[in-house]
């Protein structure tokens, strides 16, 4: 059995797919909304150098990634230990050498990676127009990089909403628009507080 097949088998055995999918959406949403919040904060606050905005967004993206990774690793490790102990008690046998034992050691790292990478990568996607502008690339239609990044944030939110819709089997456009409405609500609150 190849390594990939083995990991796939452990993935199925530990039913990690559902948890990873949930983490991907919730933390991805965190990433997109946090970036939207920071961008709108700068947008309403007045002109600031682009490098300051990128640094702030990148700092938040790294913090979200590290927080997502470590929190999932700690909680999943403890959860898996508890589940393994309960199963060992039911079977009246040790399971360290079994696939269950291996899954309880490996899967927390895989789930933690999903939980950490999801907000980090989505955040990087959102600030992509800012990067491009700072590297001297011209955005199409002479778009303002701020406007484009805010648009990318809404695009990420829409994608996550559609992804949720596909999972639950509801109409994808409705679930996508519902997620965008949450983003618009967040933007509204930020503008009101200003």
């Amino acid at each position: 059995m190849s390594l990939i097949q083995h990991i796939r088998s452990l993935w199925k055995l530990s039913q990690a797919g559902d948890i990873a999918r949930r983490y991907f959406v919730t933390n991805g949403f965190d990433g997109a909304l946090t970036m939207l919040g920071i961008l709108l904060g700068f947008y309403t606050g007045g002109a600031v150098p682009l490098i300051v905005v990128i640094s702030a967004c990148l700092g938040a993206a790294i913090a979200l990634g590290v927080s997502g990774f470590t929190s999932a690793l700690l909680s999943e490790t403890e959860e898996r230990k508890k589940e393994l102990k309960e199963l060992e008690e039911s079977l009246v046998a040790p399971l360290e050498e079994s696939d269950y034992g291996k899954a309880s050691q490996i899967m927390p790292w895989v789930i933690a990676a999903v939980n950490g990478l999801s907000p980090f990568l989505i955040s990087l996607f959102v600030i992509l127009p800012l990067w491009l502008e700072s590297w001297g690339f011209m955005l199409p239609f002479e778009m303002d990089p701020f406007d484009a990044a805010i648009g990318f944030a809404f695009l990420a939110i829409l994608f996550l909403g559609i992804f949720l819709g596909r999972i639950s089997g509801t109409f994808w456009l409705w679930s996508g628009l519902r997620a965008v409405l949450i983003g618009l609500g967040t933007a509204g609150i930020i503008f009101l507080i200003r």
Binding site: Q15, S90, L91, V92, S98
Partner: protein, 91 residues
């Protein structure tokens, strides 16, 4: 040493892997194995199963390891059918 042709095991296993995957894994140990699995009882975390394996030369240790790898434990070996092996040549 006698060759085991049939064995009936009382096994306790977690719900995953399911009966189909469990049977396939045991059958894949040897192309000559025929495996029959019957679920006897289902509890909250575990299920009791009866596994019957038939083959030309059943290797118990290998089966025991495969079951342990899938998280199961053999409670008892309830039936065994064996044949005497032919005497070794003295030439």
């Amino acid at each position: 040493m006698a060759i085991v042709k049939r064995i009936l095991l009382d096994v306790l296993k977690p719900h995953q892997p399911g009966a189909l995957e469990f049977t396939q894994t045991l059958a894949d140990l040897d192309p000559e194995y025929r495996v029959n699995l019957r679920v006897e009882e289902v509890d909250e975390n575990t299920e009791s199963i009866i596994v019957v394996i038939e083959g030309e030369n059943i290797r118990f240790e290998e089966i025991d390891q495969a079951i342990k790898k899938m998280g199961g434990t053999i409670h008892s070996v309830d039936e065994v059918e064996a044949e005497g092996s032919p005497p070794a040549s003295t030439e």
